[in-house]
């Protein structure tokens, strides 16, 4: 199967699909639309006292051993991956990029080397969920709930953070999930917004009926006193449309001539940057990047997996560059439901494993390799995979406490006891 062809077909369909809608919206923006200054209640009510969190989920189980390569393991790594291993650093374009003499970045992550050199990229190897499941769906669900092995928790970990925070924020943009659905980590009683496209987020209809149609819809959904989940969502639609209509420039231009990758992931990060700069009260954004379930033909320094990493690395680096004047107040963290087996499989891919690499990017982080590396000796592997030596919540809890100002770990991660890695400076 050819990933490239698949993508071009999909994007063909997609580009046609949006032509009519995106094309008209800004040109014919109705003149009567209110352009009020933001109500103070929508602003993060203690500006500058906490970071905005951008939580990135790599769906499918990223092969962390080929993203941040333990080339220093020698044959323990290279013999197990005869066709997909990434060559040791030798300065060439298709070899690992040395970080510390033992680990190296995949060449497709080259844009992140600048962030590493700037001192703002922390890498945590052997991170993951303590639950052993190798089911995508269980592993994702547990990770996003923040309670591995326990499904009885009623909401996602980010939602519980927002609920337990000492401050309030009524902005509909307080928590935003980029995409057609709200991510599991955001689900719960604290409202979260699903947002596909800022430019397209408005009611469509006849010019001469704009006002009466929105008034009638507001009435049909009784948005002034929502009675159920559907009414609440409808009310959020109106709040969101109103706020977005007030954003001075819907055609966002990134700073410093930065160009984001033309992918769903790149577009998602671009919109997060736009929302942060617009100061609409965003506290947490969740962005997904899929396609990591590389059971076959994953490739090495080039190929399918390299393409995925390229999108990830270019997207993150573009965000970092675009946001450089804001990065002291932004933390980006990546996670994936599990890593993959050390052994390459028969299809030149890799099967579900366990330990993985997490990345943290932000002004509050200090570059370095973190976690406890136990190596790839057969006797330390977990069912053929890198063992989990760092609970992913060790990374998240430190972010929550030092950067987001919420120490209510008993509510966000019930039953978990902390082992801080000291990645961050406190604000």
């Amino acid at each position: 199967m050819n990933m490239q062809t698949m993508k071009s077909r999909r994007e063909l369909l997609r580009s046609f699909g949006h032509m009519g809608i995106a094309g008209v919206s800004s040109a014919l923006y109705p003149g009567w639309m209110p352009r009020l200054v933001f109500s103070p209640r929508y602003q993060n009510n203690a500006p500058g006292t906490r970071d905005v969190l951008v939580a990135i989920f790599q769906r499918g189980g990223m092969d962390g051993l080929n993203a941040v390569i333990p080339f220093g393991e020698g044959s323990l790594y290279y013999d197990r991956r005869p066709t997909i291993a990434i060559p040791e650093p030798d300065g060439s374009a298709l070899a690992a990029i040395d970080l510390d003499g033992h680990f190296g970045l995949h060449p497709a992550l080259r844009p992140l080397k600048d962030v590493w050199d700037a001192g703002s990229l922390a890498l945590i190897h052997g991170a993951g969920s303590p639950d052993p499941t190798r089911s995508h769906f269980d592993a994702m669900e547990y990770m996003e709930r923040g309670t591995p092995g326990d499904r009885s928790t009623s909401a996602g970990w980010i939602n519980r953070h927002l609920l337990s925070a000492a401050w309030q924020n009524e902005s509909p943009f307080r928590a935003v999930g980029i995409g057609a659905m709200v991510q599991g980590s955001l689900r719960g009683t604290s409202p979260a917004l699903a947002l596909q496209s800022i430019a397209d987020f408005h009611l469509q209809g006849r010019d001469d009926q704009l006002e009466v149609v929105s008034r009638t819809m507001a009435g049909l959904y009784n948005i002034s006193a929502p009675e159920d989940m559907l009414g609440t969502q409808a009310s959020d639609v109106f709040d969101t449309v109103n706020l977005l209509s007030q954003m001075a420039n819907l055609d966002y231009t990134p700073a410093y001539g930065v160009v984001y990758p033309e992918s769903d992931f790149g577009a998602g990060l671009r919109q997060v940057a736009q929302l942060i700069k617009a100061d609409v009260g965003l506290e947490v954004a969740a962005v997904d990047i899929g396609g990591w379930d590389t059971h076959e033909s994953q490739g090495g320094a080039e190929g399918e997996f390299a393409g995925l990493l390229g999108d990830l690395g270019q997207g993150l680096a573009a965000f970092y560059a675009d946001m450089q004047d804001y990065m002291s107040g932004v933390t980006v963290v990546t996670m994936s439901e599990f890593g993959r087996r050390v052994d390459e499989n028969a299809s030149a891919g890799t099967d579900h494993g366990h330990g993985n690499v997490m990345m943290v990017m932000g002004g509050g982080a200090t570059s370095g390799m973190y976690g406890r590396w136990v190596g790839l000796d057969s006797d330390v592997l977990d069912d053929g995979a890198l063992a989990v030596t760092t609970d992913y919540r060790d990374v998240l809890s430190e972010i929550l406490i030092k950067r987001l100002g919420n120490s209510a770990m008993d509510q966000i991660f019930p039953g978990y006891s902390m082992n801080p890695l000291n990645i961050f400076q406190a604000r």
Binding site: R9, A194, F201, Q204, G219, G290
Partner: protein
């Protein structure tokens, strides 16, 4: 291009909402939804069709709910000439597997035709319950078509449609040997030296036992070994059909779910695995709970799941008997209005309410709309299928997209899309005044005026009458001007989102 430039020039444009603070005047005591009198036959139609049409209402009233369900449970006895005729435009869909693969390989158009025919069949097949079962199993045995739409077309025909109301064991065996599935979950490349566990895991977790169905990681590995060599013949060897390649099979002894598989066997290993899975009590429970979640409610009653699982087990996996049990159960009857329409449910219910003529043009608006709504058919990448429960679908952007589709689509009556023809006068009968027009429209879209609270009715009347007197005669011009948006408002209303 033409439709869209017309759309630009005409009237589609950004429409911002009135500020929330400005709608205080709307504060009103809202009539309790769902107080509309229980209507058992409407409920049955809402769940065993993709949206009740007048002809369905007449039929169920004539023969009764049980006979109606039994009629729909025997699709082989229901002629479907309209769909057959429409599909004949795409004759390759029914052709040989080789022909389908070749066509999909050279013709990107196929990637649009296939979702389009999915929408069309759901909307216009006489075999409504059958099409709902096809949808259920398409999710259950999910395959993201990606680059292999040809294989998925054959899978849809030979696996899903052939067995949708048949026997689960047959369905499972057909799926396990379907080239589309063998490629999608990588079993086609699984060999003794390096087994690929993808299919082995998902066939237990998602297709049969369920994640808590009692298997271990060791079982996953052993099942992968048992299925080594289950692959797809190359073109020279048999035109892309299932093929057991004994040369790469793992002939060692295996232990699977408590059974010892002796060394030295070939394809029998995999056949026995599927047999064990098909008849396992965990499978009966898992399938029963998923059917009940789809057809009854997001939290199906435990006693119904139990009894349906028993029927499934005792009947040897007879899907028809299991469905009959669920649809005739008191728990089903008590679950009126409890299912939130997924995007495709919503779109198809809209089509059945409006009954537009659907041709096949170059720019199929409905296919793109469904993609915007997040449910393009055969395009869900992970193997668990599009989510069923409301929580996954009920979100801000999804709701806004739905409203925009509802408010825009009735304008097909003005010729906005080349491939859609719509006559609203055939949907909503003429009326003397605004109140009557709203009453007729509510009946057409929601079945009976009782389903819309009085306050909402008044809002719609005020819209039609321009806030004037809704009982004075309505001019033909005003009626034509208001009707498309009136219908759009009803399709976008809360009442239309549940069934």
């Amino acid at each position: 291009m033409q439709q869209f430039s017309r759309r630009d020039m005409l009237k589609l444009t950004g429409l911002a909402a009135v500020a929330a603070s400005n709608v205080g005047w709307l504060a009103k005591v809202r009539a309790q939804e769902g107080t509309a009198q229980a209507d058992p036959s409407w409920h049955v139609l809402s769940r065993v069709t993709w949206g009740p049409m007048a002809v369905d209402v007449e039929r169920i009233q004539a023969i009764g709910a049980e006979a109606y369900i039994d009629w729909q449970l025997s699709p082989e006895n229901i002629p479907d000439s309209g769909v057959d005729e429409w599909l004949s435009k795409f004759d390759y869909l029914a052709g040989t597997a080789r022909g389908v693969y070749d066509r999909a390989y050279v013709d990107d158009y196929v990637y649009t035709v296939v979702p389009w025919q999915r929408i069309y069949r759901a909307a216009y097949s006489e075999r409504q319950l059958f099409e709902l079962m096809v949808e259920f199993w398409t999710d259950h045995f999910n395959i993201a078509a990606g680059d292999s739409m040809g294989e998925k077309i054959v899978d849809d025909r030979e696996v899903i449609r052939r067995h949708a109301l048949g026997n689960f064991r047959d369905l499972l065996f057909a799926s396990a040997q379907s080239p589309a599935m063998l490629f999608y979950l990588n079993n086609a490349e699984s060999v003794a030296e390096h087994p690929n566990e993808n299919y082995a895991r998902e066939v237990m977790e998602l297709h049969t036992l369920g994640v808590n169905g009692g298997y271990t990681e060791a079982d996953v590995r052993a099942v992968a070994r048992a299925l080594t060599g289950w692959t797809v013949a190359d073109t020279a060897n048999g035109a892309g059909s299932f093929y057991f390649d004994g040369s790469v099979h793992d002939y060692g002894e295996k232990q699977i779910l408590g059974y010892v598989f002796p060394a030295g066997r070939g394809i029998e290993d995999g056949l026995q695995v599927l047999d064990i899975l098909a008849t396992h009590p965990s499978t009966a429970r898992f399938i029963a709970s998923k059917l009940a979640r789809r057809f009854v409610s997001d939290q199906p009653p435990e006693d119904l799941v139990e009894s349906a699982a028993q029927i499934f087990l005792n009947s040897g996996g007879d899907i028809r008997q299991t469905m009959r049990h669920i649809l005739l159960s008191p728990q089903f009857a008590a679950a009126q209005g409890q299912k939130f329409r997924r995007p495709i449910d919503f779109m198809v219910a809209m089509l059945r309410a409006l009954r537009p003529g659907l041709d096949f043009g170059n720019r199929p608006y409905l296919v793109w709309s469904l993609e915007d709504l997040g449910q393009l058919p055969y395009n869900w990448n992970p193997p668990n299928g599009y989510p069923d429960a409301a929580g996954a679908w009920l979100n801000t952007n999804g709701l806004l997209n739905r409203w925009n589709l509802a408010l825009g689509f009735p304008y097909a009556s003005e010729g906005w899309w080349d491939d859609i023809s719509l006559n609203l006068n055939a949907v909503v009968p003429h009326a003397a005044n605004a109140n009557q027009l709203v009453a007729n429209a509510v009946t057409a879209i929601l079945g009976t005026p009782a389903r819309l609270p009085r306050e909402d009715f008044d809002l719609l009347s005020a819209f039609v009458a321009d806030d004037g007197n809704p009982t004075i005669p309505l001019s033909e011009e005003a009626r034509a001007d208001k009707l498309p948006t009136l219908i759009g408002l009803l399709l976008a209303s809360p009442q239309f989102q549940w069934h």
